[in-house]
Amino acid sequence: MKLDHDIPGTSIFDGEQAQKGYALNRMCFSFNSAENRAAFLRDEDGYCAKYRLTPQQREAVRQRSVLKLIEAGGNVYYLAKLAGIFGLNVQDIGAQQTGMSVAAFKAKLAAAGR
């Protein structure tokens, strides 16, 4: 049931991505616990090492780059838990991924209703 074309700006979280991103998503899943979020903030390197992030994933976390995290296999529902640690909501990460200001991203959303 694949499309005969890619969907621009969209990556499908399929088996390939799920395998690639497993360590990263597993770390993000641990952030359901406040204790683990605090542990990450105390020692980011140690925490990432404990979850055996790949070098690509570690670098994407370091850069706080959502697009690079997705490229490294991150699933956005799990990445949202990581973003939450930095106080970023889905409009913030939407703005970051589209290279817009948060205000411009929100205006774009509102414009979709008109």
């Binding site: 049931m1 694949k2 499309l3 969907i7 621009p8 700006g9 969209t10 990556s11 499908i12 979280f13 399929d14 088996g15 799920a18 497993y22 998503n25 597993r26 993000c28 899943f29 952030f31 359901n32 616990s33 406040a34 979020r37 959502v66 697009l67 997705i70 699933n75 956005v76 529902y77 799990y78 990445l79 949202a80 838990k81 973003a83 939450g84 640690i85 909501n89 889905v90 409009q91 990460i93 939407g94 991924q97 589209t98 290279g99 991203f105 929100k106 774009k108 959303l109 509102a110 979709a112 209703g113």
Partner: protein
């Protein structure tokens, strides 16, 4: 016998939980969304369902990617909410109906839907927010619940046709239950939205309007869309429409649309609610 009184679908955006906790229902940003619900409150107060079956997707609270069922059914006496990592207030637990859950499981498996059965299950915002919208009040638990989880997270996802059949099997299961219960079916999530990638912020009003119409009047028409096509038309997370399809499938009688609401945006999402009555209710009430 148990009867299905109707179905309600609603958006489950996490920030709605925050808005409820802070009492922002009349804030100009939120009002057009919350205004969709008073008709549901009035209808529910009149119909008084005993149990609600909630079709939704888990966002990494109960299920991780280590084990990802396509369809799962809760079979517990109680369902707890928990910290999801992004600062939402944690809800009070919800009462279950384990006897009905096990009846559903028996019936679904006999009907060739081999569901995962969960005697322990944390319910996330996609379950708690719709219930808070329908029955406001932090401790308000007037209905028992049966959670039904659909995988909309890790592809391959079940097709629209499969979800419609699954919903119909749930409908048959409920209607074959020999206790005198009024059951509401809820589907949560959607409509169009995309959180990830350079297409983040994608919203498709035209497709949403078509879905609102087809879910009410002709759900089979939606089975022409493949999952990749659904991603393209509704956005990566707009695939939560599958939960609406399951809800609609369960309404096996003649269906009447009672109310709908559609507003862009709530957070990154085209928000919507749709309330449908299952005709069997009206027939029985008339008698």
């Amino acid at each position: 016998m148990a009867r299905i009184v109707g179905g309600i679908a609603t958006t489950h955006v996490p920030s709605i939980g925050n808005a409820i906790a802070k009492g922002w229902q009349n804030d100009p940003y939120w009002k057009p969304f919350f205004d969709g619900f008073p008709p549901a409150h009035q209808w529910l107060a009149r119909v008084k369902p005993d149990v609600v079956v909630v079709a939704y997707n888990d966002h990494g609270l109960n299920f991780f990617l280590d084990k990802m069922p396509t369809f799962a059914v809760g079979a517990a006496a109680e369902y707890k909410n928990a910290d999801e990592g992004w600062g939402l207030p944690v809800s009070q637990p919800y009462p279950g109906d384990a006897a009905l859950s096990w009846h559903l499981v028996e019936s679904l498996v006999a009907d060739e839907f081999d569901v995962t059965v969960c005697q322990e299950m944390l319910v996330d915002h996609a379950f708690t927010i719709p219930l808070s919208l329908l029955w406001p009040g932090a401790d308000n638990r007037p209905v028992r619940t049966v959670p039904v989880v659909v995988n909309t997270v890790q592809h391959p996802l079940p097709s629209i046709a499969r979800c419609l059949k699954f919903g119909r099997a749930i409908g048959r299961a409920i209607e074959s239950y020999d206790r005198d219960l009024k059951v509401l079916v809820v589907g949560t999530g959607g409509l169009s939205h995309q959180l990830d990638g350079t297409r983040a912020g994608f919203i498709n009003k035209e497709f949403d309007q078509l879905c609102l119409d087809k879910i009410a009047n002709d759900p089979d028409a939606l089975t022409r869309y493949s999952i990749p096509e659904l991603v393209e038309l509704a956005g990566s997370q707009g695939v939560e429409l599958l939960n609406w399809v399951v809800m609609r499938g369960a309404l096996t009688g003649r269906v009447t649309k009672l109310h709908s609401n559609y507003h862009i945006p709530i957070s990154n999402t085209a928000s919507a609610m749709l309330m449908l009555e299952n005709a069997a209710v009206a027939v029985r009430q008339a008698a």
